[in-house]
Symmetry: C2
Subunit: 311 residues, 2 copies
């Protein structure tokens, strides 16, 4: 989201007369207002303000909705152990992120970054590039985003294996991961950040991959041991990588990631297509309609697991 405070949520005018809106622009305001709120919409999902402001005792929101797919910033014990219901933005980002991953795969396969660099120096240098159809991908994360990525890559003729927390129909379990990594031309990480997945892409896993493999992370930065990735790229253990998410965002100007060989850095934008804020606002309104009428909420996060369980 960058360093600037995010724009306020759109579409909430639709709640006029139905809810009293308490806007909290910073942590202090949030702390002051949280005890009055029945419902909390977390718009700035990369902030730790909710954790810091969460009421120790007494009144607290009964429902928290985060305008994001990942819920890792909200997995603090006081919320996890409470009876507050947590929902997320499941669905909004699936297709955009799948397209973004396809863009990265094709750009790397067709050597577009080098083409752009050569254009900047007015150099005509013909190269051979990679045929994409028939290559293999391993997608880690079997939620709706991982499924959408798998379908999009399959549409490009890529043979794709999906890995989730447990083996089931069409999904490999963790026991298969290293074997699949060792065969993949493209390794795509779209897993939720949990205690099981934190740091899962480390030196050992980069060492298992093929020297021709490319690694893409559109999940959360903390899934990757960034220094190990930089090292693997310098040592040419893998051929390239693209990160859209980072341990610390925005990425510091002096980070070695900006200049690691074969690494493409983008500013956490994979899911954010034109109109995404409106979609997030509308999704919250739909959920609010359920809440208002006492019906069951959808997109409910299993707080013990750290994601919305699905098929």
């Amino acid at each position: 989201m960058g360093a600037a405070p995010p724009a306020p949520p759109p579409r909430l005018g639709n709640l006029t007369g139905r809810a009293r809106l308490l806007h909290a622009a910073d942590a202090a305001e949030l702390r002051a207002r949280l005890p009055e709120a029945d419902v909390l919409l977390v718009w700035d999902f990369l902030s730790d303000a909710v954790r810091d402001a969460w009421p120790g005792e007494g009144p607290r929101p009964r429902w928290v909705h985060t305008a994001s797919a990942g819920v890792d910033r909200l997995m603090f014990p006081e919320l996890v152990d409470s009876d507050t219901v947590l929902t997320n933005a499941r669905g909004v980002f699936d297709q955009p992120i799948a397209e973004y991953v396809a863009a990265l795969v094709l750009a790397m396969g067709k050597d577009l970054p080098r083409t752009l660099a050569l254009q900047a120096s007015r150099e005509w240098r013909h190269r051979e590039s990679q045929r994409i159809a028939g290559t293999r991908a391993c997608v880690i994360g079997s939620g709706p985003i991982g499924h959408a990525i798998t379908a999009q890559l399959a549409a490009l003729g890529i043979t794709t294996a999906l890995v989730g927390r447990r083996a089931r129909d069409g999904v490999h379990g963790p026991a298969d991961l290293d074997r699949l990594l060792a065969r993949a031309d493209w390794v795509v990480c779209a897993a939720p950040l949990t205690e099981d997945t934190r740091g899962m892409f480390d030196a050992r896993r980069f060492g298992v991959m093929q020297p021709s493999a490319r690694f893409i992370n559109v999940g959360r930065g903390q899934l990757v041991v960034e220094s190990d990735l930089v090292d693997a790229l310098h040592k040419r253990w893998i051929a390239g990588a693209a990160l859209d998410v980072f341990e610390h965002e925005p990425l510091a100007a002096d980070s070695p990631l900006w200049t690691a060989p074969g690494l493409l850095v983008s500013p956490h934008m994979s899911g954010d297509t034109v109109g995404w804020r409106d979609e997030l606002g509308l999704q919250f309104l739909e959920l609010y309609g359920l809440w208002e009428s006492g019906r069951e909420l959808t997109n409910v996060v299993d707080k013990k697991r750290g994601y919305v369980p699905g098929n």
Copy 2:
């Protein structure tokens, strides 16, 4: 192909004992040897050497094969009007070029060139990008390459119209072109270069397109009036373009195309995936097998039309 002479054709060792190979590295050698040859394999398809060396009278090759999809350099009257059979590399480039076009569409839609430029200056700047599914493309050129592009874009959820020389099932005729251009988010040119298509993308046609449209040329450079495209980009008549082919190749270092706003320049590489030279060599061997045994050749160019007629 660049300025350097191309590497010699691979796989021709398979013809040992079946044919006498006469290699011609330059125009003078070609002129000396052409009258002795029954078969001519044109490996450097961007060269005018064949036209210049073609025998005026007397013995000449009965069969010419060009290791390219486009045959425009061979459409000179002495060959067109002769009974020499001309074949091309139909099929080899379809899927690679379709993937390359998908790479360009996604790169432009997801703003990758700007992401790479921002990375070079270590700037974190979040932007919204374009959702690709649901956009519209118009593909010009209804040969196998145009068909492959159409299928690949459709696999990305893009609504695609294909335009050919004549209307038929699944293909629009030229009468529909301007209307389709006016509705397209992506205009992709994969037409053969003929007297009908030369310069077809000119100021008038760029003026018909939407200001948000992007234009991609993977056909031949002469299909586009390059100065009109530069003008259209500077005036923001269209949002961007990508050229893989140029009127003069290699593109001169002082060409205004290198720096035209929103223009991506690549060095005629869209079809050239790893192994393409082998594939071209093998394709020639297959055709040679037909020739040798007196069977009918495939991939035969209609020399009056300037391409291989298909469905």
